[in-house]
Structures are given as structure tokens and as C-alpha cells.
Symmetry: C2
């Protein structure tokens, strides 16, 4: 199966192109909405398609626990199960094991953890993660890694050795030719560890490289620094995926530094809290100032919510805890980010990314405290 990655045009360190997958091609740079439990919360697959989504991320940890990866396999795989015939990416379950499960014990072989749903005991190893991801059947699958706190040098160094050993075991365990296994560069905020991790994984000749362990507590400057270190090292001809990052300014900063793939729960999660992305920041519809506001969330947005409803109506829905509030704010926030990615791709093709990014980030910096 082909996972050809074609870079059509570059602009500075940024690149735009396409990644072929068994379920169709992705235009890059691309933002993937997150469908944790085999659904992007409050969205139907047809809505995601209408919004311009092409790649969906789903979570191995959650689907393993419920409804079970074997059931999904028996029902024809994740694409058929969730009614999404486009490309899907699954994470390895590692991040959730470390962030969600109640108690865990790490050894060199794997991780034993308790389910956040019912406290039952489970064990993930690199082999188990690959087996589960093969049962799910996503187009892009991820190596099982440890995601350590980014600022403890000794711990990160020790964790890195384990993560690299696990990468080799993942590669050895992989059997499906129709899935691309991406490596995950770890190393916290430390240049030598990040570079060592990148070089180790590059030697494995994987079809794509993710940068993990960011957006977990380090500063924005540290995140940019890590990307700046890795950009010249990671192979130019392979797709680069910045995991779990999706704030608008982070997407712009990531694309400027050569990132091709992003995913994040931010647009969907803040939507369910009543917040909407707008040029320059975000607004929270709960605020009293929107009580009689007849304008849409964003007059320049082409989404259904902005074409149809006032902020006053959306505020009412949020305060009344109505499902439609989640539907409409998710619609808008996803469209906002997917349109941003369209704009970034256009700017790269026109060779105007630096200007675009400068304007965007200035606007953002001046206004990002709009509501919060």
C-alpha cells in the first residue's frame, strides 16, 4: 500500500503537499479533529466532511476499553464502525495510560494500569498496542511510547531508552501493510535528548515522525524551541506530526517550523464549555455582554452556525445546557481551524506565509484576552 508523501511547494521551512493513504489523500498541512470514542463529539461524519475535515484521530486506549478493539475488528474495522471513509489516525494508547488511568506500573516490558471506567486491571505493551491498532485498522498508527514530564532530565533520559526499545518492538510486531507506523520523538525540553531521539528513530526508516510530549506543561517558547531543534534533523521527505497541539497560534507557529499534521481536542472541548474561536482569540458565550447581541460569532466565517444564528441565541443555548449549543459551537470551532489550515496552505503556495503568519500572530497577541 502506498503512503506516498509529496511536497508540492515550500515557503521558508513550511511545506504544502499531499499524503496518500488507503482511504484517500490528505492535503498538508492538515489539522485532525479528535474522535476519542469513535465519534468527534457532537458531529456526524457528514458534518465533518462538509466542514472540510479530511483526517480524524481516534484513541486506542478508549476504544480498547469500550467497545473493545476486537469487536470493532469483527464489525469491519473502525472506518466502517464510525461511518468515516476518509483517513484515520490512532494514537498508541500511551498518552492516555499515563494521563487518564487511575494507577499504573511501568516496567521495561510495558505498563499495567487500571481502567478509568471501572477500575479493572489491564496491560499495554508495544505488541499489545500494535495488535489493538491493527484491529482498529486506522491508516496511520503510532508507536507505543512513554510521555514523561518534560522538565526532569534524568527521568526523561531514562524514559527515552525505554521508548526507543519499544519503537523497535512496535516495528517488529506490525503486520498490516495497509497501515503506516509513525515514530514519536520524545526528549522533553532538552536539545540533546530530542536530537538523540530523532536520530534513533530516523535509523528505523519509519514512514513518518511525530513530535510527542509537547503541550503538556512546557512554555510556548519551549515548544517553538523544540520544533526549531528538530526541523533540520527530521527527514524532509517524511511527514511530521505535532501531537496534541491545536491552539490557532500553535498551528501557525508549527506550520512555520515545517509541521505537516496536527491534532487537538481544543476546538471541540472548548465548544462544549461555551467558548468560540474568533480572529484574535476566543469568546465565551456565557458572558452577559452577548445577551442581546444579534451578530454571529464571526461575521467572516462561512459555517452554518455563523450563517444562521446570533450570539444571543447561542448564549441562550449554552445557558440552557442545550445539545444544540455543543453542535453549533463545535461546528464553528472546527470550521475556524480547518479554514485556518486552508489559509496556511494557500499562503505557502503563494509564498506569502511569513506575512500571513505575522499578521495573524500580531492580531492574536493583541486580542487574545478578549474574554478570558
Amino acid at each position: 500500500m502506498s503512503f506516498e508523501f509529496t511536497i508540492d511547494v515550500t515557503d521558508g521551512r513550511a511545506r504544502s503537499g499531499r499524503l496518500d493513504t488507503p482511504h484517500g489523500a490528505l492535503e498538508t498541512p492538515v489539522f485532525a479533529p479528535v474522535g476519542t470514542q469513535a465519534t468527534v463529539k457532537a458531529m456526524r461524519p457528514t458534518d465533518l466532511r462538509d466542514l472540510g475535515a479530511t483526517l480524524i484521530l481516534s484513541n486506542t486506549y478508549h476504544l480498547y476499553l469500550r467497545p473493545g478493539d476486537e469487536l470493532i475488528h469483527d464489525l469491519g474495522g473502525l472506518h466502517r464502525f464510525m461511518g468515516w471513509d476518509g483517513p484515520i489516525l490512532t494514537d498508541s494508547g500511551g498518552f492516555q495510560v499515563f494521563s487518564l488511568s487511575d494507577t499504573r506500573r511501568i516496567d521495561e516490558d510495558g505498563v499495567t494500569f487500571k481502567s478509568h471506567l471501572d477500575g479493572s486491571s489491564h496491560r499495554f505493551t508495544p505488541e499489545a498496542s500494535i495488535r489493538i491498532q491493527e484491529n482498529l485498522g486506522a491508516d496511520i498508527i503510532m508507536m507505543f511510547d512513554e510521555c514523561p514530564p518534560p522538565n526532569d532530565y534524568e527521568y526523561v533520559k531514562q524514559s527515552l531508552a525505554r521508548t526507543h526499545a519499544w519503537a523497535e518492538r512496535c516495528l517488529a510486531a506490525k503486520t498490516r501493510p495497509d497501515q503506516a507506523l509513525f515514530g514519536i520523538v520524545q526528549g522533553g525540553v532538552f536539545r540533546d535528548l530530542r536530537e538523540e531521539s530523532a536520530r534513533y528513530l530516523i535509523d528505523l526508516a519509519l514512514p513518518g515522525y511525530a513530535i510527542g510530549g509537547l503541550a503538556v506543561g512546557e512554555t510556548k517558547a519551549e515548544m517553538a524551541q523544540v520544533l526549531d531543534w528538530l526541523e533540520p534533523i527530521l527527514p524532509r521527505e517524511k511527514p511530521r506530526y505535532l501531537m496534541g497541539v491545536g491552539a490557532p497560534e500553535d498551528l501557525v507557529n508549527g506550520v512555520l517550523r515545517g509541521i505537516d499534521i496536527f491534532d487537538c481536542v481544543l476546538p471541540t472541548r472548548i465548544a462544549r464549555n461555551g467558548a468560540a474561536l474568533v480572529p484574535g482569540g476566543r469568546i465565551n458565550l456565557r458572558n452577559a455582554q452577548y445577551t442581546a447581541d444579534t451578530t454571529p460569532i464571526d461575521p467572516h466565517c462561512d459555517c452554518y452556525a455563523c450563517a444562521t444564528f446570533s450570539r444571543a441565541y447561542l448564549r441562550h443555548l449554552v445557558l440552557a445546557n442545550e445539545i444544540l449549543a455543543s453542535i453549533l459551537l463545535t461546528t464553528h470551532n472546527l470550521r475556524f481551524l480547518l479554514r485556518l489550515m486552508e489559509d496556511l496552505r494557500k499562503a505557502i503556495r503563494k509564498g506569502t506565509l511569513a506575512e500571513y503568519a505575522k499578521r495573524f500572530l500580531q492580531n492574536y497577541e493583541h486580542q487574545m484576552t478578549i474574554d478570558e
Copy 2:
């Protein structure tokens, strides 16, 4: 403004035709989904239109309390506020005052009650109900009535006198020519009281008549009995509205007895509990038997949920408490009832209603315990 009601064809006591409103014509018999808080839960207006909904009911009590009828008026009325440009019906608030508010005191002039939201004290009178409904601006508005327990003859009789006096006050208070005020026949399960109520309201020459106080504790046989008593008395040339009734068998039985308009929270409420309407009854997707069921809810249904997803996936969404479960089950249940109404209208036009109803109700009786 015209509220012309045209009966095109009759079949037994059933009728099919159209009711003109300032926001378009309704084909009758019609089922109105309920949008309590200015949204049919989990549905966008465009979805409702796609499902074949033509009339939406919204609740005066809820909208008066939040966001406030004056705000909705100032924002251009309920149609614009909720993005629904078709006909809307508002109830009077009476039923909710008696069923939802914490404490209440009824006197001849009106009802004092405490908000179910914050315990604040409010007062509804016939004049207040009409003023609120005029602020909301629905096409069809309802008289303010008391909805008493249906089996206490003395109480129902005494309540009826008050309800009739209130009907006259509603009529006197009404000022907008672009709204039709419907009367509500009360009288519990008592023939003399129901007939007295109908005759009293008929004398007021209202543009439509509702039958209230049913589906509140009486038996199915008592409901049918009340409809049988009223059918020959209510003016044939006026639309008849059976309030709060929407179980599939009740729709069939109501249409057989000359009812033109129905509304009910049933399809949307049971959807949010994981239940789906199917021919012959309903199923609850929580049940373990659907764990690996690759069939749709109803193979004969033309809705998006049935065209796209398996019962196994829907069960997963219900158990995972995902918003998409509510969206898809609401989609299906509304389509199920709206398609039933289409079938009933067709059967009336073809003169085959009796057969259709017999087959439908037999099927229903044999299978209605499918899951519950």
C-alpha cells in the same frame, strides 16, 4: 392574516388537508416536534426541515423564564431567534406551571408559581400568557387553561368554569392579527364536562380547537373515548389539535378520530435515553443483544442514522454517553413519526386508512414489548 383550513379529502372520520399560516402551509394531519427551549433538542433547523418537519412547538413557560419573551421580541421574534422560518405553535404555559413549577397558588385571576430554575416568584394570568405569546410571535397560540387531574369530577367541574372564563379573557387580550388563538377543551374523563367545554368554546368561534388534559394519567381506552365523544361536536371545518400526544399508536388512533395536529416530546426524549422507535414498538440500544448487531435500527427507514450506522455503533455511543447518540436517535425517532404521518395522509387520500390502521395497530400490539 389568513389561517385558512382546507380539508381536501376525508376517510371515515379522518381528514387530510392544509392549514395556512403566516409562515407557510401545513399538510394535515401533522406531528409537531417539541422545541421546549427554542430548540428541538439535538436538532438543527436544517435537520428538522430535511426530516420533513413543518410545525414546531415551543414552550411559553420555559422561554418566559429563560431567555425572556421580551428579549426574544426585541431580537425579532421566536422564528428569527431560533432560525426556524416555518410555522411555530406555542402553548400557554398553563401545563408547565402545573407540572414543573415548585409551588403554585391558583385563584380566579391566575396562578402564582415559583420558577423551576431559581425559585423566583412569578404570576401567569390569561392576559400575561397572551402578552408573552405575542412577544414570542408564534403562528398558533393557545389559551391559558388549567390542566387538572382527569379523574376528580368535582374538581374538574370547578376548574372548567375557571378555564372557560380564562378563555374569554385570552380572546379579549389578544391583539396580533397574525396569530391564531386556539381554544382548549378540558373536562377530564367525563362526557358531560367534555361536551360542555367543547360547546362553550365553540361559541367563542375560535379558529381551532385543542383537546387538553389527555396523556396525563388516563388509560388509552379513556383517551379514545374522549376523542369519540368530541369528534361529532367539534366543528368539522376547524383544525383539531390533540395536545401532548405522540406515541405511534396514539397518532394512528387520533387520526382515525379526526385529529389534525399532534405534538409530543416522546420521540426526542426517549432518544436521549437510548430508545429507538421501530415498526411494532421500540428498542433500547443499551441492551446487550445489540453489542455486535450490524443491522441498522430499522432497515426500512430512510433516515441518515439508518442509512449509515449499525445498532452496534449506536449502542456504543449510548453507553459512552456521546452527544452523537442523541443526535442520531433523535433523527431516527423524528423521521419515524414524520414518515408515519406521511403514510397516514397518503392512506386518507387513497381511502385506505382503516386497513392501514388495522395492520399498523395489530403489528404494534403483537410486538410492542420488544424490549421493555
